[in-house]
């Protein structure tokens, strides 16, 4: 068994504290000097139902979940309803153990709570353990927790046992418990942790652990952060002080984080009647001079189409975030997918006049959240930040210094009253808010309450004062000016380059991807190159305006390109081809849409089979291969 990484999976029932326990343990691993990456799997249920979180920890940087895992801590599911194999969802009681065996690597470790789980209910469990050389430790975690505190503290007992079995010191875990737990429950938890640790060390000979915790060291202070955290902190640092929303998984995370922080810094969070209102409120607040945002997931974002169009037409800056989940309709609420790409690009009537950014990592989520606000306010255009359940929920360590940047409360081209007086006005004192000729297409705006800034904002086509107009000349002048902004934004994005590149520049093959699959693709590229396959990748973040030149140069530089995305219809590949207008014979797709994100090996295998061996039927039952048009 490899000692260079620990992939620890904690499984149990939804509502059993799996998420908080794993978050603390991830932090402890990070503080011990390791790089960490978490992956969550949970059902759309309030209580009960099989859930797990995986933590991958290594001395080297980690950008993805791993292939399978090597340490299982299986806890009971307190809310399991059906102990029968024949029930609709099968035997729920045994699931924390039975559901997780397929992906456990050879030589892996299993710790399970024998107080709640009976391994004899799993057919051929012993044979499978022997075959795969698993090391199995049945421990009565529930009994231990009950004797020393309360039954729910069995998670802590499991963490204590884990530390004993991987040779990890307890001090980091203890420090975190002291930070996170209220006085009342701290002492029994600390006692349980230590007792479980000592009990395992006494009962078993673990001088040479089956799976050891790697050792690493950080050069600077790290923070454990999710994509949702990063988006929120980016918004706050860029001066966002207003959010309106309606709950929907997985967007609720950003809404919750913003709501926690905004009131402390003089901002407002409003939970309103629906997503139409939420987006319209953000538009109204921005119109009145506050940096504002809203957001939702697929179905809720559909309701935002109208206010989005209003923001485009009235050139009101606003940021909307869209947290994708598997669709159509209610789809699979807690499962990631990237299939809202076309939805956010094209929803709302008329020619799209918006910016769409899709960050690929937690660091990029922070940077592009700030970028989204900056572009929205500088260019008076709605900007959409597109991400998914995977990026929103995964936690990684990020150097604290990544966030050492100046805040930016600037509202963009907004005029002072003195400057307003210099601007053109109509006879009756109306300010020319929408001038035909404007630098970069951006006509400066006033804020209601300012002297000399009176104008009308309207969703109708309008003349320079905002007055409704159907004059053909005015129409062409206004729409051309609004569209010009996208060209200027493209030029600005070219100077920033939000793309992420991996692999040798002169590689023979390429992989194109967007958004949250970037880290997994980059790990696959590393492995393919180690195996002697010459391949590079390009993770694209600008969905609109599209970096046509850069993508074209990338495609041009290689023999063949595999496009990797979590959609069933190849939406990203379609976008690439729409913008490039050719190369259909060079692009193949690797698609996954079963509700789980790619594992690196699936991309490696898919690439080798489809591109290297040229197998047009390279799909497995979980991934789909769509060959290039010429094949």
């Amino acid at each position: 068994m490899t000692n260079d990484e620990l992939i620890w999976r904690i499984s149990g029932g939804s509502g059993d504290g799996i998420a908080s326990t794993s978050q603390n343990f991830a932090k402890a691993l990070m503080r011990s000097g390791l790089n960490v990456f978490t992956h969550r799997h949970y059902p759309s249920r309030i209580r009960g139902g099989h859930t797990y979180t995986e933590i991958r920890a290594a001395a080297d940087p980690v950008t993805s979940r791993g292939d399978g895992y090597n340490f299982l801590l299986a806890l009971g599911d307190s809310f399991a309803r059906n102990p029968q194999e024949g029930a609709v969802y099968g035997n729920e009681e045994i699931k924390p153990l039975s559901e997780n065996l397929d992906e456990l690597r050879e030589g892996g470790v299993i710790v399970y709570d024998e107080g709640l789980l009976d391994a004899s209910e799993i057919p051929n469990f012993e044979e499978r353990a022997e075959e795969n050389n698993w090391h199995v430790y049945p421990l009565d975690l529930r009994g231990l927790a009950r004797d020393m505190g309360r039954e729910v503290m069995r998670n802590t007992a499991g963490v204590g046992a884990t530390c004993a079995l991987i040779g990890m010191d307890l001090n980091h875990v203890e420090d975190l418990m002291r930070d996170a737990m209220p006085e009342k429950i701290l002492d029994p938890n600390l006692e349980i942790l230590e007792t479980a640790y000592n009990q395992v060390r006494e009962e078993y000979d673990i001088d040479a652990p089956d799976v050891t915790v790697p050792t690493g060291e950080h050069e600077e202070t790290q923070l454990l952060m999710s994509g949702s955290d990063a988006i929120s902190y980016g918004a706050i640092d860029e001066g966002c002080r207003f959010i309106a929303g309606y709950p929907m998984t997985p967007w609720t995370e950003v809404f919750t984080i913003m709501t926690k922080h905004l009131p402390k810094i003089g901002g407002i969070s409003e939970q309103v009647e629906d997503e139409i209102a939420a987006a319209a409120l953000a538009v109204g607040a921005s119109h009145a001079g506050v940096k504002a945002m809203s957001g939702s997931s697929g179905g809720g974002f559909a309701l935002m189409s109208e206010p989005l169009g209003l923001a485009e037409m009235t050139e009101t800056p606003v940021v909307l975030v869209e947290a994708m989940r598997a669709g159509p309709s209610t789809g699979m609420p807690t499962k990631p997918e990237q299939s809202d790409l076309e939805h956010v690009l094209y929803t709302s009537q008329g020619d799209s006049q918006r910016v769409v950014l899709a960050p690929g990592t937690v660091e990029e989520a922070y940077e592009q959240s700030r970028l989204a606000f900056r572009l929205a306010y500088e260019y008076q255009i709605p900007t959409i930040l597109l991400y998914d359940q995977k990026l929103g929920g995964e936690m990684v360590n990020v150097p604290k210094s990544h966030f050492d940047r100046e805040p930016n409360p600037d509202l963009g081209k907004t005029l002072s009253e003195d400057a307003l007086a210099e601007q053109p006005h109509s006879e009756d004192g109306k300010f020319h808010r929408f001038q035909h000729e404007a630098d970069d297409g951006v006509s400066p705006r006033s804020i209601p309450g300012q002297k000399g800034g009176r104008y009308l904002a309207t969703g109708n086509e309008h003349d320079p004062t905002g007055h409704i107009s159907e004059s053909p000349d005015n129409r062409v002048a206004q729409i051309d000016r609004r569209l010009e902004k996208l060209e200027v934004i493209r030029e600005e994005l070219d100077t920033i380059d939000t793309g992420s590149y991996a692999g040798p520049e002169d590689a023979q093959y390429g992989i194109l991807t967007f958004g949250s699959q970037q880290g997994t693709v980059e790990e696959a590229v590393g492995r393919l190159n180690d195996a002697g396959v010459s391949v590079k990748s390009y993770g694209v973040s600008d969905m609109h305006p599209f970096p046509t030149e850069q993508v074209e140069a990338f495609v041009e530089s290689v023999d063949e390109v595999l496009v990797v995305e979590m959609t069933a219809s190849g939406q990203f590949r379609g976008l690439v081809q729409k913008n490039l207008g050719r190369y259909g014979e060079k692009l193949s797709s690797l698609l996954k849409y079963n509700g789980n994100p790619f594992e690196p090996a699936e991309i490696v295998d898919g690439f080798e089979a489809a591109i290297i061996e040229g197998d047009a039927d390279a799909s497995t039952h979980q991934t789909t291969f769509v060959p290039a048009a010429g094949d």
Binding site: S269, E270, E273, A280, L281, P307, G449, G452, Y455
Partner: protein, 246 residues
């Protein structure tokens, strides 16, 4: 940061300041009640001392939505049914603005019905005017949520089977603290009602109180109006105003 010297300005206000020079004559049908609402509003605003540049008028879509074109203040002509969410956010963002929302019965009680209920529930210190003519006017006379039962139109040729909505009791139920009804055929009363509505101090039940407040305010009172529905109908001349005890 911007200053907002239009807010709280103390001066005489001429009602003609509200009349645009671009299109001073509204395009409403001759005899339409909308003319008298416009006139009443132009009279009410100078009387409560609010200048065009400290007033934000948010409208929906329909004949009433054209109000913005004929009343020269800061304006936001939004989309069908959505004047209220835009207006209340502007009020939250800058509580010193005089925020007025306006729309028709189709706009406010049909497509925007949900916003109507929830805005009344939040009871912001702003005014909402509904031009209730019991039909969809701009799209040529279709049945609306307040059309009487049996109302025939091209979209309801055999007559509406539904009882009309009761917007006043709905808004009271939802929590608006000032609700009044007046008639376009009685413009003096309409003006008085509008003044009362604008001057009414609502106590917002919305979660937030904002500190991104801007501008300086010199006047003594800090807020004056409530979510108040003042539907002006062409039929009724009866005045019904209701205020809760405090």
């Amino acid at each position: 940061m911007s200053t907002f010297s239009a807010i709280g300005e103390e001066r005489e206000i001429d009602r003609d300041e509200y009349t645009p020079s671009v299109e001073p004559q509204p395009t409403w049908c001759p005899g339409c009640g909308d003319f008298s609402v416009l006139k009443a509003l132009k009279q009410a605003l100078p009387e409560v001392g609010r200048t065009p540049e400290e007033t934000l008028l948010c409208t929906g879509i329909g004949c009433s939505g054209k109000l913005n074109s004929y009343l020269d203040s800061y304006g936001f002509h939004t989309i069908h049914g959505r004047s209220l969410p835009v207006a209340r956010a502007a009020k939250l963002a800058n509580p010193d603005l005089e925020v007025i929302a306006a729309g028709g019965d189709g706009d406010g009680y049909g497509i925007g019905g949900n916003h109507f209920l929830h805005t009344a529930r939040e009871n912001h210190d702003m005014t909402y005017i509904v031009f209730n003519n019991e039909i969809f006017g701009l799209t040529k006379g279709q049945t609306s949520p307040t059309s009487p039962k049996g109302h025939t139109s091209k979209t309801q040729p055999s007559g509406s089977a539904k009882e009309p909505l009761k917007p006043l009791s709905l808004s009271l139920n939802a929590g608006a603290s000032y609700v009044a009804r007046t008639a376009a055929v009685n413009p003096n009363q309409a003006k008085e009602i509008l003044i009362e509505a604008i001057e009414h101090d609502a106590s917002p039940t919305s979660t937030s109180s904002l500190s991104v407040r801007r501008g300086t305010r010199t006047r003594a009172s800090t807020s004056r109006t409530s979510t108040s529905t003042s539907p002006t109908t062409t039929s009724s001349t009866r005045r019904t105003a209701w205020r809760p005890r405090r």
